[in-house]
């Protein structure tokens, strides 16, 4: 509310000619009061209906109006119910709703209990990540329910575009609940960064056993297909392009900080070494992790010594050829097919590389070297 609280109370007291008190309570406390007054059936299907200015509830003969909603809590006005007629009650509620909707544009949109809890959790995680001696286990006061002691699948979501002002948490939470269809934990970290914990039951797929399915999937394969699907859904149904990383299932209560560190590093490495990819898997970035640890000066020195010509790698055609070749396990026929070129054309390109650099990627040793050089070149160029 942009008008001072005291001004509001004084003016309203004067108009109604009865005492009014202001108080602050948690969203949970308000929800309890509202539930007792209106009954569970009147609430929406969601377990955490939004709290909005203008809502009212009666408890112990006291009428309370929601005047303001913020991350710090719910501001309510308390009036003796008998002091108001039904019309006055309606008018006050209407006025508060109006003020709430035209209020300070920077004011937070109504937040649910789950969001408030998630923000507290996010703040705690951020503190540990910035601390010299982080705590890795969640403190008791931040553990909500037994699910924190069960294995869940952790994802890190980093969006490219700015979230819509207000309500982003609620919107994303609703979307994830629809998609994953179970209890999820959505924790906002930095701006445009979200930690998501999804049910481990996504990895169990008894129904597929009924049919003849493809060869057995590893846990990594399953996680990769889940995160790909999540990415596709978010890109088309939410804000658009985003980066996602996933890790093996872990217990939030004990592994939340460690997992966040791993996922952040995974996305950073993925963005550094593989521009253009949006899904980042930690088990696919082991070489990148190792190379990233090499000091820049040493990287540059190695590149200089290894190559007779570095500008060959600037050519997009050569880069695409090599990346496809390596992605297809150095299979010449498959690479040619994938690139829509004749086999001889591909061989010509590989021969050209050998001529220019002395390295023949058809030989295992040279292929490993070129792979490393490519990665080093990309990250050195970017720096």
């Amino acid at each position: 509310m942009h008008m001072g609280k005291t001004d509001w109370i004084k003016q309203l007291q004067h108009i109604l000619d009865c005492p009014i008190e202001a108080a602050t309570m948690s969203a949970h406390e308000w929800s309890e009061i509202a539930r007792q007054d209106h009954g569970a059936a009147s609430q929406s299907g969601s377990p955490h209906p939004p709290i909005l200015p203008g809502q009212h509830a009666v408890s112990d003969g006291r009428l309370r109006f929601v005047a303001d909603v913020s991350p710090k809590g719910i501001t309510v006005f308390e009036i003796d119910r008998r002091a108001l007629s039904d019309k006055e009650l309606e008018l006050i509620g209407w006025t508060l709703r109006l003020i709430g909707s035209k209020g300070d544009p920077k004011a937070e949109t109504p937040i649910s209990d789950s969001e408030m809890y998630a923000r507290k959790l996010g703040d705690w995680i951020q503190k540990q990540l910035e601390s010299d001696e982080p705590a890795y286990s969640l403190p008791d006061h931040l553990i909500a329910g037994t699910r924190m002691y069960h294995e869940m699948i952790p994802f890190l979501l980093v969006t490219e575009q700015n979230s819509p002002k207000g309500g982003a948490y609620g919107e994303l939470e609703k979307l994830l609940r629809s998609f994953l269809s179970e209890d999820i934990l959505l924790i906002p970290l930095k701006s445009q960064e979200w930690l998501i914990w999804g049910p481990a039951s996504l990895l169990r797929d008894e129904e597929a056993d009924t049919y003849e399915s493809a060869e057995e999937e590893t846990v990594e394969d399953s996680l990769a297909s889940i995160v790909s699907a999540l990415h596709e859904m978010l890109a088309s149904e939410w804000l658009g392009e985003c980066h996602l990383a996933v890790a093996h299932p872990a217990m939030p209560a004990q592994g939340i900080v460690e997992t966040t560190i791993l996922l952040r590093e995974t996305i950073n490495l993925g963005r550094k070494f593989h521009v253009g990819t949006n899904i980042h898997l930690p088990w696919m970035l082991q070489l990148e992790r190792l190379l990233n640890a090499i000091p820049e000066a040493q990287r540059a020195k190695y590149l200089e010594q290894s190559l007779k010509r570095t500008d060959l790698f600037v050519e997009s055609e050569m880069l695409a050829t090599l990346e496809t070749f390596f992605a297809l396990d150095c299979n010449v026929s498959e690479t040619a097919k994938k690139l829509y070129i004749h086999r001889n054309t591909l061989l010509y390109r590989l021969d050209k590389l050998k001529q220019e650099t002395g390295l023949d990627v058809r030989q295992f040793r040279d292929a490993v070297l070129v792979k490393i050089i490519l990665l080093l070149y990309k990250v050195t160029k970017r720096n």
Binding site: S178, L202, Y211, E212, S222, L239, G240, E317
Partner: protein, 373 residues
């Protein structure tokens, strides 16, 4: 249903010296099937992703119908995407996969059911509705990905190499099905591929791109018969067009094209154009498609001024036709497509005639088609 209009679209990535997409202007009509084709890195996928809202537009305007959508989120653009990396939702069955987008948009259950079942019928996947993606073949998954897009009844379909993960036979099958489907649904479709056969067989119009620039936008026939430059000429058509470096001379009123092993007469119509543009005495590049090089006696007799002698390096017999890899015409290998019953073998000497009415000539510096510019 709606058209799509791109006005002066650019895409620049931070830290990059040149734009990935430069000054793209396209007016895609309602119900049109437009194909963006080109080699890797040409900007076709980036252009599609800008239309989808997955990439920000650095400069320019994008309209879907009459609506300017530069700052509109993908979910609000009324488009449906089928991308190469389409990821079906593994924890949902086919029905749920197809219904999900509608469920999010708060469609009524009965409407969702109707749309899903209708789409499943069109795609012949009604019997798969209870299955999970893991239990489907590649072609079946592709159909589900299409189904997910169809149920949305969008204004525009956007497809980025949706067939590239399928084997050749399935790809051919699905190509035909996608073409039939989009015609039946009468939805504007923008399709990206770097397979020029896909482009030629599917598109109402084709946009050929290279290095972020549009080279030419035209119907398949127009691109094939009237390529605007060497890149388009060489990219469209399989086997590719042959290019022979040579020089134009004029002798006794006849314009001749001369190169190593080649001394042929240019037809008067083309000769007049070459004269008027000042190409006589200059070096040019002759472009001739494999099917326009003939070995039949009847053609040789009718075209004595365009005969060349060559040696068959390799003869590839495909049954109904034969590809001859020839030496002696210019300095590079030239490919001719002849009848499979020609009886020619590796090492044979052969006389061939070029159909000069179908040939093209390109400026050596600019690589532009002299007759199309």
């Amino acid at each position: 249903m709606a058209g799509v209009r791109l006005e002066g679209i650019y895409k620049r990535y931070p830290g990059s010296e040149k734009a990935s997409v430069t000054d793209v202007n396209l007016d895609i009509k309602d119900k049109e099937f437009l194909v963006l084709v080109g080699p890797s890195g040409c900007g076709k996928s980036t252009t599609l992703r800008m239309i989808a809202g997955l990439e920000e537009i650095s400069e320019g305007k994008l309209y879907i119908g009459d609506r300017l959508v530069n700052d509109v989120a993908p979910k609000d653009r009324d488009i449906a995407m089928v991308f190469q990396s389409y990821a079906l939702y593994p924890h949902m069955n086919v029905y749920q996969n197809m219904a999900f987008g509608l469920k999010l948009r708060k469609f009524k259950k009965a409407d969702i059911d109707k749309r899903v079942r209708e789409a499943a019928k069109i795609l012949d996947i009604e019997h798969l509705l209870d299955r999970k993606p893991k239990a489907l073949s590649g072609g079946q998954r592709q159909r589900v990905a299409l189904g997910r897009a169809i149920v949305r009844e969008p204004q525009v379909f956007l497809m980025d190499e949706p067939l590239s993960n399928l084997d050749a036979k399935l790809r051919g099958q699905m190509r035909a099905e996608i073409s039939k489907l989009t015609k039946r649904l009468e939805t504007t479709t923008i399709y990206v591929t770097h397979d020029q056969i896909e482009a030629m067989t599917m598109g109402d119009r084709i946009v050929v791109m290279k290095d972020g620039f549009i080279q030419q936008t035209a119907s398949p026939e127009e691109l094939y018969n009237h390529p605007i430059n060497m890149f388009v000429a060489g990219f469209i058509g399989a086997p590719s067009m042959n290019f022979i470096n040579g020089q134009l001379t004029e002798q006794g009123g006849e314009v001749r094209f001369k190169a190593s092993g080649v001394d042929i007469v240019v037809p008067e119509g083309k000769a007049a154009t070459l004269r008027s543009k000042g190409y006589i005495g200059k070096e040019v590049i002759l472009g001739v498609r494999p099917e326009d090089i003939h070995e039949e006696p009847v053609f040789l007799e009718a075209s004595p001024n365009t005969i060349v002698n060559a040696t068959v390096e390799v003869a590839e017999n495909l049954g109904h036709e034969m590809y001859l890899y020839l030496n002696g015409i210019g300095t590079d290998t030239v490919i001719a497509r002849v009848d499979g019953r020609s009886g020619l073998r590796d090492g044979a000497s052969v006389k061939l005639a070029l159909d000069m009415n179908k040939t093209h000539m390109f400026d050596k510096e600019s690589e532009l088609n002299i007759f199309e510019n």
